[in-house]
Symmetry: none
DNA sequence: CGGAGCTGTGAAAATCCTGTTAACGCAGGG
DNA sequence: CCCTGCGTTAACAGGATTTTCACAGCTCCG
């Protein structure tokens, strides 16, 4: 169910050889990686919204242990993996009892380090209710993962599951153009068959529902020959007051069509 | 901070030397330990209500890997620590990616093994915390964990164990949409088989009993394609008086059906 | 200016999902 | 051994949702 989701990892180590190799692999795997050489204040770690922290306390000198203890104490939800040189059983046991989740001995293969980081993150995620983030807001839109719905000033858009997943994917990549194949792969979970128009159809449904609730904004933009891009933009024209007009749909649609095709973005 | 709470651990290994030493220490630490020599069916592991499982898949011969995979897949909440002899990086990576939480190489000091079991168990505990003391009330409903029952103005709903667990889970996540897989995982304790309808059937039983005792409220809402959400809502329509109608059941059911399908969150 | 290739639309057709029932198997108590 | 309560499965019907199609409208590019 959960594809190898992107992991946010921080590495506190000065062993440049190990770190650079690891960074390379992590990047290849699509992880978000931050490096630091010294003891980063726990507050900053919080701000990074990490899944896990890989640390060599030996590089921190005397305060290594106390730092480890402080971090584990202040961020009980953070996965902590110690990766250091030769150590005694007593040291390892102490580290683990202090709150570390795993202890790897250097030299170690970067792939194993990554697998252990994954294992720790996996367990982390499971425990905490996956309400990882607060609602994502964009323009007048509020996307709530815990409700599988999007709202505009409290009103639900009545999205179906696929519509929601598509919207979330696009919104999470705000500003980035996503190709149809990528979108399909990530929302449907498998490769898109050649000639499949499902993505287009769902984009249309989404635009329809978005316009209904948030007419003065334009969210999903088409990139001809490529795919789609999510970017909330207030539509220039202010809403025309048509308080009692029986059917303003024609004018609204004509207007919106012009807005959608803003190809030359970027 | 964490009192070394009692841990329920199962060990699947035939290395009597290692196991007996470990058992001795575990007992001294007040752990509940179960031993097994071969592949125990995942169902039995569920029944043991374990915190963690320590296993040497090499002792299971050929099926070691598949057994590991099966257990990790079916009991995603169980901490799994592999403890085996010499291994390659590739093997360790594979094991960890399969779902194992840690991998220890024999020979290893029993104290370290225990520290790692603790570290893995610590994680799992973090998510499902807290002694919620008082009874939980919602609408006309009162859910008492100490009684394993729910009441409406003093009358018991006569819920069975599973019905109660399901209701409690939903109610504790009030307002949040829970997916079927999540529900099954948390109430039944292991992964839901594809196509299993147990959750639906139990939701129906619950709704039935809830309506019987609290007709003017709607508690469990369906989110098509996703799962269910608990949210007490007073039903708009006041009870229709049908003083002399011999069997009002039909109208009541028809009405309630309409209410259940309030897909639009809000 | 015109054709080829893409994308927007609407609606029909094919699937999937949930509500409901009822049969089945199991285990505990008489 | 039979009865009863409980949980699991299978099957069906009615809807809701997704796919698939056929066309019309746009873009790009020569």
């Amino acid at each position: 169910m959960n594809a190898p989701q992107s992991i946010r990892l921080a590495v506190i180590d000065t062993d440049s050889g190990f770190v650079t190799v690891l960074a390379k692999r992590a990047e290849a795997a699509g992880w978000q990686l931050r490096q630091a050489a010294g003891a980063v204040p726990p507050e900053e770690l919080v701000a990074m919204k990490l899944n896990a922290l890989l640390i060599d306390p030996a590089r921190l000198g005397e305060e290594g242990w106390s730092y480890l203890e402080r971090v584990c104490g202040m961020l009980p939800d953070l996965g902590v993996i110690v990766c250091t040189g030769r150590s005694t059983v007593a040291q390892r046991v102490r580290g683990l009892r202090l709150g570390a989740d795993d202890w790897i001995t250097k030299p170690c293969h970067p792939e194993e380090a990554m697998a252990r980081v994954e294992a720790v993150s996996r367990r982390r995620r499971r425990g905490r209710n996956e309400v990882d983030a607060g609602p994502l807001v964009a323009g007048e839109l509020e996307i709530r993962s815990d409700q599988f719905q999007a709202f505009v000033s409290g009103d639900s858009l009545d999205l179906t599951r696929r519509e929601f997943e598509l919207l979330r994917l696009l919104a999470e990549a705000r500003g980035q153009v996503l190709e149809r194949e990528t979108i399909y792969q990530r929302v449907w979970g498998y490769a898109m068959a050649h000639g499949d128009r499902s993505v287009d159809v769902f984009v249309r449904k989404l635009r329809q529902k978005l316009e209904k609730r948030s007419p003065s904004w334009s969210y999903i933009h088409t990139h001809f020959g490529v795919g789609y891009r999510f970017d909330p933009e207030a539509v220039g024209e202010v809403v025309i007051e048509v308080p009692d007009a029986p059917d303003p749909s024609m004018s609204v649609e004509a207007e919106s069509r012009a807005v959608h095709n803003s190809f030359t973005a970027s």
